[in-house]
């Protein structure tokens, strides 16, 4: 056989193999382009969702994943969540070696069956069946098949071909079918650069096919993973939720349905509580002052406890129940606070949203569904001529109207008796997130420093720090040693923290000392003048940045430090004043020699929030690098001596 013929034969064989699904069982058939930077490859994923009637949905899943190394194990995702409402009809896994030979079959009874309760949750009926398999060697392939049924049709599974970093996808399909009297809506995200087709075939009304997605890699200062992956969300206008049927096609009608079916009639409390809260606000005329009193009452009298029943259980426990036991989850506590505010005539609305400190995830304005769009509840107090007030009802120590990074700056669903509305929560603007540092220290000729400082933080910077106020002495000491970990042997003679909840600022008043702060170099002393607020963070470098730049929250740091120099030394050299300005923010320092022995160091560092194209990343990184370098600028002192050497 000539070489040419041989090649043709191979090509034929390959194209023939292409028809068979068995190709996915062998690791030898992996497309090379998909293994680069991948820990696992999803060879084939097929999700089919069949809504048989408004209260009967069947989900089937078949997934073949080749795991390339130990970090890829999670990508197998061989697990099914179930609860009182979601039943597992079948589940099975088969393991194949690198050549595609079957080496093990795992049936339902051999899956681990455990409660899905995490440490912080008191009770949840949610359970997981999961595959506990120890790989013998890599690569290996798992085929996982499951089928579940549920009567809830409020949460239709989304089509999410990629669900973690460093995982590539060879083939992923999603099929959905539904009766003619049900209207399906869908919402496509990030499909622009993806090889996909959307059709209908056989009996399936809607089919999606996606091919060849390369792995996503995490990158600093990028939009959240959830917002960059390709995804299609689905919802139906008609659905059943825990026995309550709905017909909605926008957020307004969804809100109305929610209000009428899940909230109404859950607001009554005991007569004692009614009297108590009324007397609490008897002398207040202003609505916000009343609300403040009520919020304080809730904070003082309840605590947060997580109780999860049903996936995404959305109905709050009644205010009466919270009133009795004095605890609840986010839903229960928010509903309770709302009930008390109603009693004293302050209007407020129950609000569903997606809470997460690291990502500001909005509810999609134009696509009404609950599946994956919300995970938390807060309270909205509408205002006529100023920004709305938002209350986090699960916290016992947050100031009134302060929500911090957990729920800030995102679109949320506000539920009113007239229907649902999309509103935007409080954004903490750059100029609100301030940290003002004033202090002084003196340097001895042995290189020791002693000094004191006062630091005042507001906005998101308040949120970052106020919890330190609750720490015990030992833990406070540790926290500050960590903050100034670059000063070897720093010790604190006095630590005072003041959490002013009325003006929402956190003050830290600290007396400190450290030995050998300066560096000795013969008759010279060298020290970094910025002792107390050095920016040491440098964002990671990427040879190939793929995601745009996102700075989620801005801040302003302003420092003014007086430095007393040791006697017997004079300044040999001072760092120059600097001004760095660019689109990301600015950095300014200034050193003034007030006298021969006193220097005043001023510094202002501003980073603004914003979004920029990926090309800007290296400039953004260079900015931080420059600041880190300038924050290390040193003063050189030299001994005043008649016999200088």
């Amino acid at each position: 056989m000539s070489l040419k013929n041989f090649c043709i034969l191979i090509a034929l064989l390959i194209s023939f193999l292409g028809v068979s699904q068995d190709q996915y069982y062998s690791s030898l058939t992996l497309p090379e382009a998909l293994t680069e930077h991948a820990n696992a490859v999803v060879r084939l994923s097929e999700v089919s969702v069949e809504i048989k009637t408004i209260d009967h949905m069947v989900e089937q899943e078949r997934r073949i994943v080749t795991v390339l190394n130990s970090k890829g194990q999670n990508a197998v995702g061989a697990r099914v969540y179930y609860d009182d409402d979601v039943k597992v009809r079948s589940v099975q896994a088969i393991i194949f070696d690198a050549f595609g030979n079957e080496i093990k079959k795992i049936r339902k009874n051999d899956f681990k069956d455990v409660s899905a309760v995490d440490g912080g949750t008191l009770y949840s009926d949610s359970r997981i069946l999961y595959l506990d398999y120890t790989p013998i060697s890599y690569p290996y392939t798992v085929e996982f098949i499951s089928e579940t049924t549920t009567s809830n049709t409020a949460f239709i599974p989304s089509f999410i071909p990629v669900w973690s970093y460093f995982v590539s996808v060879e083939n992923s399909r999603y099929k959905i079918n539904y009766p003619d009297d049900i209207t399906l809506r869908k919402n496509e995200k990030n499909l622009e650069d993806v090889d996909f087709e959307s059709t209908n075939y056989e009996n399936w009304k809607q089919v999606y096919n996606i091919k060849n997605i390369k792995p996503f890699k995490p990158e600093d200062h990028s939009p959240s993973f959830r917002n960059v992956i390709p995804k299609v969300m689905f919802a139906t206008n008609e659905f059943n939720y825990e026995g309550v049927q709905a017909e909605v096609d926008d957020w307004n009608s969804m809100g109305e349905w929610f209000n009428n079916n899940l909230l109404n009639g859950r607001a009554s409390v005991s007569p004692e509580t009614i009297n108590h809260v009324k007397s609490l606000v008897a002398n207040e005329t202003d609505d916000l002052e009343k609300a403040k009193k009520i919020y304080q009452f809730v904070q003082d009298n309840t605590r947060y406890i997580s109780v999860q029943v049903g996936i995404g259980g959305m109905r709050p426990i009644s205010a009466m129940e919270v009133d009795k036991v004095k605890y609840g989850d986010c839903k229960g506590l928010t509903n309770y606070t709302k009930a008390l505010l109603d009693l004293v005539g302050v209007k407020s609305y129950y609000t569903r949203l997606y809470a997460s400190p690291s990502q500001q995830l909005s509810v999609d304005k134009d696509f009404v569904s609950f599946g994956g769009q919300t995970n938390h509840v807060i309270l909205n107090i509408p205002q006529e001529n100023s920004e709305d007030v938002w209350l986090e009802c699960t916290s016992q120590d947050m100031p009134f109207g302060f929500i911090g990074d957990f729920t800030d700056d995102r679109d949320v669903l506000v539920i009113t008796p007239e229907g649902g509305k999309i509103k935007h929560t409080k954004k903490y603007k750059t100029e609100e997130n301030t940290q003002v540092l004033k202090g002084s220290y003196s340097l001895s000729k042995d290189g020791n420093i002693t000094g004191e400082l006062e630091m005042c933080s507001k906005g998101i910077q308040y949120d970052d720090k106020y919890r330190i106020g609750n720490y015990e002495e030992r833990d406070k000491d540790m926290a500050y040693k960590k903050r100034w970990s670059y000063i070897n042997s720093i010790a604190f003679d006095d630590i005072k923290t003041i959490n002013d909840k009325d003006s929402i600022q956190f003050k830290e008043i600290i007396k400190f000392r450290a030995n050998n702060y300066s560096k000795k170099a013969g008759s010279r002393i060298l020290f970094t003048i910025n002792a107390l607020n050095r920016s040491r963070y440098i964002p990671d470098r990427y040879r190939n940045r793929t995601l745009p730049v996102k700075i989620k929250r801005g801040f302003i740091d302003a420092d003014e430090i007086r430095v007393k120099l040791p006697s017997g030394y004079k300044v040999e050299s001072l760092p120059k004043s600097t001004v760095v300005e660019n689109k990301f923010g600015s950095y300014k320092t200034d050193i003034i020699a007030e006298s021969d022995t006193v220097l005043v160091y001023k510094r202002e560092f501003i980073v603004k929030d914003g979004s920029y194209p990926k090309e800007d990343y290296s400039a953004f990184r260079a900015f931080y690098k420059e600041v880190s370098k300038l924050d290390n600028a040193k003063v050189a002192l030299v001994k005043i001596s008649n016999h200088e050497n």
């Binding site: 008191l122 003082d300 004095k326 016992q396 010790a491 440098i538 050299s573």
Partner: protein, 668 residues
């Protein structure tokens, strides 16, 4: 009369000072208390903690272990609210299970001067089936406020009487008053072992008891059937230990302590033998010999060591033509490591037999290391199992079966024992995974005898770094680096390097050193465990020196210098655990920028820890346009007693200071 009034007076005085610890008798004083008198930082405290564990006989089930709990907790502030949630783990097997009974709970609050009580109701109690092996009952008390007093009681009935939960006498919050009692019939002989810094000695008593058996006998007569009832009585005595403690301080987590429970005060009762009338004595454990015997006789341990049928042909093939015993050992060790993968479970017993583990290529710790031992024995090596208590499990001070949770393998060589653990890919002979480095293990020999052996490595793990560096007048550095790592340092490196994509590994390094750029990166012996790992690369990095006017200042260690003292706490009560002795050697040759000369350089120096625990040698030589630097930093022991904490802290502080000293150059 005078006498009577005196008595009344004394009684009244007594009543005033005495607390009433009966369930429900929460006092106003307890509710009014604002902070714990001797520890104002406590967020909550046990006002009263009572546990009583005893045996009862139930005619159908035999002996049952009953544990009664009664706890009264004061919540001082919001941080203490978590103590209002309580979780009770309940063990089960396919046949038997533990159950909770009689759970009652109340919250007491002072409302406008009145004591208000709120009862724990059904909706505050949650039962969850956690897994095949245990259930969980959780409850949360209602109406918790700052200042609340919580009180609850319940009873656990357990069929697993060989397994008495540890009596814990110290927690992360203080205890005002603690009473505990353990009572066992004379038939059950328990070994008590205490741990923790606070010593606790029980009061021992005996108390008579009896069991009444109701017998029912059917008499089948010719025309009638009658039933006669009779009772038998068996008298015996109970051994009772009681504990009575007051004002037990809180013991909180500290950094660099691997398991705080090792240090909290507690008492463990382990069944050593049972001796029922008319039955032979059944041993569980009293001495190390018994412990060893019990473990050895467990079919999932000793028996497994004698079976070889399932692997014989494979091992024969593997070793054909090999005669050197150490070569045989090495091949078998690698064979087990590559053929049987660890499933992540610790155990000293095989889970479903070595044959099955061998067939399925996966098993727990015992499956793997007992199989290794069996194979080594099969080829004529003197290999024995070594019981280990992992770091997680704590330190076994007294003979207990549960003191050990892990098993490795030891080959007896003249004057030495070579330790092997085949569960970890990059562990080598005598380089065990970190989890097993915990005091002493116990080797069990074929004769049934056993001996303690040190698990902490004696061999020093070394990292030697050689660098050729060129500094330019802008403060940038170019260099060639070569490092050689042995022992645990090599094992750590292999774990990290072999588990990461090389490109990512390099990127991580570059980011760790703030913008370093690496080229010609190479690693040799990453998989060859017999040799040290060698890493080499070329790199460049900016901003490594301060340039002030015509002078250049830099620390000759550059980015290798240590900046932070790992010991930040002002004082320390627990040993400092380094895991293994180590030696870091740096050899630097630094070429200075052209046209610059050295103005000043640090002096050579030596720091020494007391009792030869460690040393730091720092030598600088200026040689024309070149600086030579040698640093040798040693920690000679794996674990350091807290009495040396201050010395250690100041040693590290001195070390950091030395490493940060500056060289000053000036333009010639």
């Amino acid at each position: 009369m005078r006498i009577n009034s005196f008595i009344v007076f004394v009684l009244a005085g007594f009543m005033l000072s005495a607390q009433n610890y009966d369930f429900g008798k929460v006092s106003r004083a307890e509710l009014e208390e604002k902070f714990y008198p001797t520890d104002s930082s406590a967020s909550a405290a046990y006002l009263y903690k009572n546990r009583s564990t005893y045996f009862t006989y139930q005619q159908n089930d035999g002996f049952v272990l009953v544990t009664k709990i009664h706890e009264r907790i004061k919540v001082y502030n919001k941080e203490g609210f978590t103590y209002a949630n309580k979780s009770i783990p309940l063990y089960k097997t396919s046949r038997d299970r533990e159950v909770v009974q009689g759970l009652k709970g109340y919250t007491y609050n002072l409302v406008e001067g009145k004591v208000e009580e709120s009862k724990l109701k059904k909706d505050g109690i949650f039962k969850t089936e956690m897994s095949k092996f245990y259930n969980q009952t959780k409850f949360t008390l209602p109406n918790i406020k700052e200042g609340s007093v919580i009180e609850y009681k319940y009873e656990i009935q357990s069929p697993f009487y060989t397994n008495v939960d540890v009596f814990e006498f110290q927690h992360d919050i203080p205890i005002k008053k603690l009473e505990a009692k353990f009572s066992a019939p004379e038939y059950f002989v328990f070994q008590a072992s205490s741990r923790g810094f606070l010593s606790v000695i029980p009061k021992e008593d005996k108390e008579n008891d009896k069991i009444i058996f109701n017998n029912k006998t059917r008499n089948n007569g010719r025309y009638t059937t009658s039933t006669t009832y009779s009772t038998d009585e068996v008298s015996f005595y109970n051994n009772i230990s009681t504990f009575d403690l007051s004002d037990v301080p809180a013991l909180k987590e500290e950094p660099h302590v691997n398991n705080i429970r090792n240090y909290r005060s507690a008492m463990k009762y382990e069944l050593s033998y049972t001796s029922f009338p008319n039955s032979p004595i059944k041993h569980y454990a009293t001495t190390w010999e018994d412990v060893v015997k019990t473990i050895y006789e467990n079919p999932s341990f000793g028996n497994e060591l004698d079976k070889s049928g399932y692997f014989e042909s494979d091992i024969d093939a593997l070793l054909s033509g090999v005669s050197d015993p150490m070569e045989k050992a090495a091949r078998i060790f690698n064979y087990v490591k590559s053929n049987v993968k660890w499933n992540g479970y610790y155990s000293k017993y095989s889970s479903s037999g070595l044959r099955k583990a061998y067939r399925e290529h996966t098993g727990n710790v015992a499956d793997i290391n007992l199989m290794l031992t069996a194979m080594l024995r099969y080829v004529g090596l003197d290999a024995n199992p070594v019981l280990v208590s992992t770091r997680k499990n704590g330190v076994p001070l007294f003979p207990t079966r549960e003191g050990y949770d892990y098993v490795i393998c030891g080959i007896e060589a003249p004057n030495d024992i070579i330790l092997l653990d085949a569960t970890s890919k990059y562990s080598a002979p005598n380089v065990l995974p970190f989890r097993t480095l915990n005091w002493q293990g116990r080797i069990i020999r074929k004769t049934g005898s056993s001996a303690l052996i040190d698990l902490y490595p004696k061999q020093i793990s070394k990292n030697t770094i050689s660098l050729f560096l060129k500094l330019d007048d802008a403060g940038s550095l170019e260099g060639k680096m070569r490092s050689t790592k042995t022992g645990h340092k090599a094992r750590n490196y292999r774990n990290k390097y072999n588990g990461t994509d090389e490109e990512q590994f390099i990127a991580d390094l570059e980011n760790k050193f703030d913008g370093m750029e690496i080229e010609e990166f190479a690693v040799s012996n990453s998989k060859d465990l017999g040799k040290p790992v060698v890493e080499s690369c070329e790199f460049s990095i900016e901003s490594q020196a301060d340039i002030i006017d015509d002078k250049i200042y830099f620390s000759p260690l550059f980015f290798f210098k240590m900046n932070e003292n790992p010991f930040k706490l002002e004082k320390r009560e627990f040993p400092i655990d380094f895991g293994y002795p180590s030696d870091d050697i740096y050899r630097f040759n630094i070429i200075l920028p052209e046209g610059y000369t050295v103005v000043s350089a640090p002096k050579s120096k030596k720091l020494q820890l007391p009792d030869n625990l460690g040393s730091f040698v720092y030598q600088v030589k200026v040689n024309g346009g070149m600086i030579q630097l040698v640093i040798d930093s040693k920690i000679n022991v794996p674990i350091v007693s807290p009495i040396y904490y201050d010395a250690l802290k100041s040693y590290f502080s001195g070390l950091i200071e030395a490493e940060n000293e500056q060289i000053v150059l000036t333009k010639a």
